[in-house]
Amino acid sequence: MHLRFVLVDARPTARAALREVVEEQWGWTVAGEAVDGFEAIRVARNEGADVLLVDAAVEGLDLKALFDLVDPEVGPLVVGLLDFPHQHVAARGVAVMKGAPPDHVRNVILGSLKKHAESRQQLTDEGDR
């Protein structure tokens, strides 16, 4: 599965670091970058991204708003990158600590996508029936 990512972080350096992980370590594509939630959605919709890697401190449309707005069954997967555990809002959405190993993060992403795909299939099967 080849995934397309939008990196959402107000800091260019952070986005650069993330790009390196996504492209070099995971071998996936960075479709675009955004500094805030609004841009992230716009870029994600324009580029057809699969995953939004969102810094927890992003403004505009913040992580919580993104979790609320983006339907995981339809839209891209929003993955929050937390600095502190309390930044994970009510276990909604997918989030990982920034200090987590990249492989772990990769596995979380893949696992979430698989789960969402299974859910979509189930919904489709139910719809067919």
Binding site: A10, V35, R42, E59, G60, L61
Partner: protein, 975 residues
């Protein structure tokens, strides 16, 4: 068959002339005695009727009584002297031929010698009712049926005895003694119709003692058929009957007997009788007897007893039976009456005094008049009466008695008879009669004369009223003055009123009366005083002056009316003061009008005052007072030309123009110079009467003057003369250095599109003078040309409100999309922006459409202004509704307009448009929502942001979300 007809039938059998119905007709009379005597001849039915002495039938106070006997009864009796006396004076008017009356000494039947004499008796107010002009024929022969004794023979043996012949008379007589009362009644009924022998009367007389009342009444009825044969003793006994009715009839019958010997009995009953009606019957009986007997057969002491009996009568009884007393007096020798007045017997003297009064003859009255100092007050009063009567008793003219009311109580007669007769006598051709009548009237209390006079005056026509007024004046009847005044005040001006007014002037105390009325609390009385003063004192002004100061406006108005048509002198001055200062407009107007018929000086003075009044009607009257014939009047008329009321100014101008000559022209032309523009037209109209040539010359000359006012005048006149003035003249005048000329020119241009040079006129909207600017606007407004709009728009923000209002009004009258567009275009001009926006706001839907359209491609400033204008015009609701329009373009335009209007209350509607099927509409809605800044739009925008398939919508949504959620600003990677 009725008893009456029975009688007639029987008499016809006997060869007697049947009495006519009129002769036998019962005629009501006041003399009860005579009336009662004819019951036998009447339809009176004893069985059915009751002899009622308490009947309340009365004619003018006369006691009722059964139907009366006719005089024919008396005339039937030969030897009866029929006389007639005047009921009032007692003078003997006519005497029928006299035949010595036989002496009836006993009850034997005697056949009287009855010569055939025709008596023509005139009807009079006599108790013995004598029918009018009824010829009375005395029967020549009176056959008497003498009962024939039929010898009774013993019948032969074996022979049938002969039956005796039926005699109804004897049979009836025999039944008089029947124990059966009904038989006795029937017997008397029969006897009432049968021919009676004198002996029968004796038998019938016995029935007067019958225990049954109706039998006794029937017996009387029979006896009344022939009083001369009626046994006097029995009748005298009936005079004492228990029943008053029978007593009265008995007395009447005695009176008809013609036997003087019964006179004492009758006199005794006068004094001894309690029943008044019986007393009256006795008086009547006495009167009849005295009238029927030879006076030489009357004993003086009997006459004196009669007088005493009369004196003993109660005044009410005497009044009730005054006629009977009068006839008694007439039946007594006058010399006895006069002699007895000197008697020492007070009762006799009083009685004779009464009789003398009632007799009214000269000798008796003169004797009575000498007793004015008598001890007896009644005698004294009667003597005083006699004095007044005696003064005219010698005149050949009959005049009624005049008696003080207190003594005789004849109030009604005084006013109903005496005074009217005396008043009539005042017009008698004989001076002596007039003098007597006036003397008699003077003897009457003025109040009594006034009681008669007042209603007469009120009911009279003016001539009669004046005559009565003159009499009242002559007799000084002050009590009649108020009635006279009321009457004269009701009269229209004329001879009658003048005549009565002259009479009133002659009344002593009339001025005091006026003065008293002037201070009366009753307003109507004060008004009457003023009117009366005007009549009585036509040249006086005191009453009118006082009236003009009355607190009541109604009284003041009456005073003005009383002042007459030509007030002058003190009255005129008082009216001028009223005109100048009265609080009532109506009073001031009346005061002004009072001078319409006055002399020139007075009219001038009044006009001058009236023209200063605040009320237009008063000022108008002031103009009417002027004719322009004098310099003073002309000056006032010129002043009136400036009156704010056009009608008054016009009237003044008309009056001035009617005055002939160049002076009037000069006056009007000068007035034209001094007049206001409003009055100028009126004056010009008046000047037109002088002709176009003269006026044209004057106008041209004036227009060429160096004086600006003169040029304006000249222009105005030229305009009027040339039916609006020439085009070039007017346009050139627009540039005149004189404000007046420019204004005059513009005024002439208004409403005349053919004379309009739009630019030249339009330029005047920036004239330095507001009046000119206003006129320019009026002229442009009258023009139906859009080219005037820019000028009007220019004028719509004039510093002077009048100009602004006029210009704006003119613009708004042209509500159209083109005008709206012009205004929208003007929105871009800073100094016109606000005005244009205000006008657009007032233009309604037409402007809304243009404004919305103007938003397309508008810059921010224009959008803001248009938005504000739309908001001010209340277009929001319409635009919100347009959000549902079928056209996406209109929806988008509406969203745009709502955004420009900052229509916060449209947020919900705009949020709804985020789901519009048209992306452009969604984008616009997202954009406007972001502009409006209402955070309610955030969540909807977010949803659209993440879901809308149209990226333009997403972009617009992002922009709006960024606005709504605050900074940071767009630090995007693309920046």
């Amino acid at each position: 068959m009725t008893p009456r007809r029975e009688i007639g039938f029987l008499r016809s059998l006997l060869g007697q002339e049947e009495e006519s119905e009129e002769q036998n007709e019962s005629v009501p009379t006041r003399h009860p005695g005579a009336e009662l005597a004819d019951i036998a001849q009447s339809d009176y039915d004893d069985d059915d009727a009751e002899t009622s002495w308490t009947s309340d039938e009365s004619e003018q106070g006369v006691p009722s009584s059964p139907p009366a006997a006719t005089e024919t009864q008396a005339a039937d009796v030969p030897g009866v002297t029929v006389t007639e006396t005047d009921a009032g004076s007692g003078d003997i008017l006519e005497t029928a031929s006299e035949v010595p009356s036989p002496q009836i000494a006993d009850h034997d039947v005697e056949v009287p010698e009855a010569p055939s004499v025709i008596h023509t008796e005139r009807a009079a107010e006599s108790p013995f009712e004598v029918p009018d002009e009824v010829p009375v024929e005395v029967p020549v022969e009176v056959p008497v049926e003498v009962p024939v004794e039929v010898p009774v023979q013993a019948p032969a043996a074996g022979a049938t005895p002969a039956q005796p012949a039926f005699d109804p008379l004897q049979t009836a007589i025999g039944q008089l003694k029947s124990p059966d009362v009904e038989r006795r009644r029937d017997a008397l009924r029969s006897l009432s119709v049968l021919e009676m022998a004198p002996a029968a009367f004796t038998a019938v007389a016995g029935a007067l003692q019958d225990p049954e009342h109706d039998v006794r009444s029937l017996a009387l009825r029979v006896l009344e058929r022939d009083p001369t044969h009626a046994p006097l003793d029995a009748i005298s006994g009936a005079a004492l009957d228990a029943d008053p009715g029978i007593r009265a009839r008995a007395m009447a019958l005695l009176g008809r007997s013609g036997n003087v010997t019964v006179l004492p009995s009758l006199v005794d009953r006068i004094g001894g009788e309690e029943d008044e009606a019986v007393v009256g019957a006795a008086l009547g009986g006495v009167a009849r007897l005295l009238g029927s007997i030879d006076p030489s057969r009357l004993a003086q002491h009997t006459a004196e007893n009669v007088a005493r009996a009369v004196a003993g009568l109660a005044p009410s009884v005497r009044a009730r039976f005054r006629r009977e007393v009068g006839l008694i007096a007439s039946g007594l020798p006058e010399s006895w009456i006069a002699d007895a007045l000197n008697s020492s017997d007070p009762v006799l003297k009083r009685g004779m005094a009464i009789l003398a009064t009632e007799r009214g003859s000269g000798h008796a009255l003169n004797a009575l008049a000498a007793l004015s100092g008598d001890d007896d007050p009644e005698v004294r009063d009667l003597a005083n009466d006699a004095q007044s009567k005696a003064t005219f008793i010698d005149t050949p003219v009959d005049l009624p008695f005049v008696a003080p009311l207190e003594t005789n109580g004849f109030d009604d007669e005084l006013e109903q008879v005496t005074i009217p007769v005396l008043m009539t006598a005042l017009k008698d051709p004989q001076p002596a009669v007039r003098e007597r009548a006036e003397a008699a009237l003077r003897a009457i209390k003025p109040a009594r004369i006034a009681s008669w006079l007042v209603p007469q005056i009120a009911a009279s026509d003016p001539d009669d009223a004046a005559h009565l007024a003159e009499i009242a004046l002559r007799l000084n009847i002050a009590e009649a003055v108020p009635a006279l005044v009321d009457h004269v005040l009701e009269l229209d001006p004329g001879i009658a009123r003048e005549r009565l007014s002259a009479v009133l002037r002659g009344f002593t105390g009339i001025h005091e009366l006026i003065a008293a009325w002037q201070s009366d609390t009753d307003r109507e009385r004060r008004i009457a005083a003023i009117r009366l003063a005007g009549l009585v004192e036509p040249t006086g002004s005191a009453g009118i002056d006082a009236g003009l100061r009355d607190p009541s406006a109604t009284v003041r108005l009456a005073s003005i009316e009383a002042a007459g048509a030509d007030p002058s002198g003190a009255t005129g001055q008082a009216l001028i003061e009223t005109l100048a200062s009265d609080s009532s407009t109506g009073v001031r107007l009346a005061a002004a009008r009072a001078f319409l018929g006055a002399g020139r000086e007075d009219r001038l003075h009044a006009a001058e005052t009236a023209l200063r009044d605040s009320d237009r009607e008063v000022r108008r009257t002031g103009v009417e007072l002027l004719s322009g014939a004098s310099g003073g009047e002309t000056s006032l008329l010129v002043r009136a030309l400036q009156d704010p009321d056009r009608e008054i100014a016009g009237r003044a101008a008309t009056v001035l123009s009617q005055a002939p000559g160049p002076e009037a022209l000069a006056t009007l032309w000068n007035a034209l110079r001094a007049s206001s523009s409003e009055a100028r037209q009126t004056i010009i109209e008046a000047l037109l009467g002088f002709g176009p040539e003269i006026l044209g010359s004057l106008a041209t000359q004036a227009y060429e003057s160096t004086d600006s006012r003169e040029r304006a005048l000249g222009l105005a006149m030229l305009v009027r003369l040339n039916n609006g003035g020439s085009h070039s003249l007017l346009i050139d005048s627009l540039s005149d250095p004189s404000t007046e000329v420019r204004a005059e020119a513009l005024a002439a241009i208004v409403g005349r599109p053919e004379a309009m040079d739009i630019d030249a006129v339009g330029a005047r909207v920036r004239d330095p003078h507001a009046t000119v600017r206003a006129l320019a606007v009026s002229a442009l407004a009258s023009l139906d040309d859009d080219r005037a709009l820019p000028y009007l728009l220019d004028a719509s923000h004039d510093p002077v409100e009048e100009v602004r209002t006029s210009a704006r009004g003119a613009i708004l009258e042209r509500r159209s999309s083109s005008v709206a567009q012009m205004l929208i275009n003007a929105l871009g001009t800073p100094n016109l922006r606000r005005t244009s926006a205000e006008l657009l706001t007032q233009m309604g839907d037409v402007a809304t459409e243009a404004l919305v359209k103007a938003l397309e491609g508008a810059d921010i400033d224009l959008k803001r202004i248009v938005g504000e204008t739309l908001a001010s015009s209340g277009a929001a609701e319409g635009l919100i509704a347009e959000l549902s329009d079928r056209s996406a373009a209109r929806r988008e335009r509406a969203i745009d307009a709502l955004g420009a209007m900052r229509a916060g209350h449209a947020v919900d509607a705009l949020i709804g448009r985020l789901e519009d099927p048209d992306g452009t509409v969604r984008s616009k809605a997202a954009e406007v929502l972001g502009d409006l800044g209402d955070v309610r739009a955030v969540e909807p925008l977010k949803r659209i942001f993440v879901a809308d398939p149209d990226m333009d919508v997403v972009a617009a949504t992002e922009r709006s979300l960024r606005k709504l959620t605050g900074p940071p600003s767009g630090g995007s990677t693309e920046s």
